[in-house]
Amino acid sequence: SRSKEESEKEEGFKLLGILDVQRIPCARNAILHGAGGSLTTGMLYFLATSRVRRSFDVGFAGFMLTTLGSWFYCRINNAKLRVQQRFIQEGIKNKIVYEGSVLDPINKPKAENPSGPS
C-alpha cells in the first residue's frame, strides 16, 4: 500500500488529463494566476455592464491572457537562471582546475598605471 501511495504521489494532478501542474516548473503558478485573473476580469466586467454571458467570455479571455503572461514571464526568468547556473558551474570547475597555476585569474598581475606624456 505504501508503494501504491508513492506511485499515486508520483503521478501528480493533470489538468484536462495532460498538464501535470505539480511537476512542470511554472505551471502551477501560471494556472493560479490565470484563475485569479479570470475571476477579476469577469467580475469587473459584470459589475460594469451586468451582462452575465459576456462576463463569462471576458473572464475566459482574462484566464488565457493571464496564464500566458505569467507562464512566459516565469519561463523566461527560469531560462536566464539556468544560463547563469551553467556559467557558475563552469567557473567553479575551471577554478578548481586552474587554481594555483599560471592561468588562475586571482593571480593575474594588476595592470600598471600608464605613464604620462613626457
Binding site: E10, L16, I18
Partner: protein
C-alpha cells in the same frame, strides 16, 4: 529508467534532453490552452440562443482565426528549430565509441587509443540476479565518462536497428552500410537504459542498450581493465 505505467519523459541526464523537456513543457502549455479554448467554445455554441442562418461573411473573425494560429505556430517553431540545430552541434568529442547493431545484440568498439570491443547481450529472464531489470539489463554495459563530449558512430551488421537512450535524448538509426553519428554529454553518473527502436526480427524487443556513465578516473581504470582482459 522508466517506471511502470509511466506517461511522461524520463529524467534528463544530458543537456540536450533537458532542453527537450523544457520545450515539451512549453508546447504542452500551449496545447492545454488551445484545448481549453476549444472546450469553452463548444460549451458556448451548445448553450447559446443566438443563431443566424444568413451570415454571409465576417472579416474580423476570419482575420483573427488566421493570424492567431500563425502566431502560435511561430511560438512553437522558434524554440523547436533552436533545439534542432543545438542537437546537431558536435563540440570536439573526447571519446568516440562505435555501436554496431546485430541480430539480436549490440557490440561496442573503443578504438581511440587502444583497440578493444565487446558484445552486449540482454540478460535472459531466468538468469536475472536480484536487483536487475527484466528485458533491460545486459551482460556488458557501454561505459563512458561523465561531463565529457562523446561521439557515437552507429551502424548495423545485418538489418535495420536503432540505438536509443531516452534519458539522454538520443535515437539514431543503425543502417547497414552507413555510419550515423550522434554526440552527447552525460551530466551525472548513473546507468541509463534504452531499447532497440527499429523492428529487426524475432528478438527485436530483447536487445536493450545500457549506458553506464562514471567519472573519468574510474573510466580510465575500466578501460585499462578491458584492455588487459581482451
Amino acid at each position: 529508467m522508466a517506471h511502470p505505467s509511466q506517461l511522461g519523459f524520463q529524467d534528463a541526464a544530458s543537456p540536450v534532453m533537458e532542453e527537450l523537456l523544457h520545450f515539451h513543457d512549453h508546447t504542452l502549455m500551449i496545447v492545454f490552452l488551445i484545448s481549453t479554448l476549444v472546450l469553452y467554445i463548444i460549451m458556448a455554441m451548445v448553450t447559446t440562443k443566438l443563431t443566424n442562418k444568413f451570415i454571409l461573411d465576417s472579416q474580423e473573425i476570419e482575420i483573427i482565426w488566421t493570424l492567431l494560429p500563425a502566431l502560435i505556430l511561430i511560438l512553437i517553431a522558434l524554440p523547436s528549430l533552436r533545439i534542432l540545430y543545438l542537437m546537431d552541434e558536435v563540440n570536439d568529442p573526447h571519446l568516440t565509441v562505435k555501436a554496431l547493431g546485430h541480430q539480436w545484440y549490440w557490440s561496442y568498439e573503443y578504438t581511440d587509443y587502444n583497440n578493444f570491443g565487446f558484445d552486449s547481450y540482454m540478460v535472459p529472464t531466468q538468469d536475472l540476479t536480484p536487483g536487475q531489470f527484466r528485458l533491460l539489463d545486459v551482460d556488458h554495459r557501454m561505459v563512458i565518462p561523465t561531463e565529457s563530449p562523446v561521439r557515437v558512430l552507429i551502424t548495423a551488421d545485418d538489418v535495420l536497428h536503432s540505438w536509443a537512450v531516452p534519458s539522454l535524448g538520443i535515437k539514431m538509426d543503425a543502417v547497414p552500410g552507413r555510419l550515423n553519428q550522434t554526440a552527447f554529454i552525460v551530466s551525472r553518473p548513473g546507468i541509463y537504459y534504452g531499447q532497440c527502436s527499429e523492428i529487426c526480427g524475432a528478438n527485436h524487443s530483447f536487445m536493450p542498450i545500457v549506458v553506464e556513465a562514471i567519472p573519468l578516473k574510474h573510466f580510465e581504470n575500466w578501460s585499462t581493465l578491458m584492455l588487459e582482459n581482451s
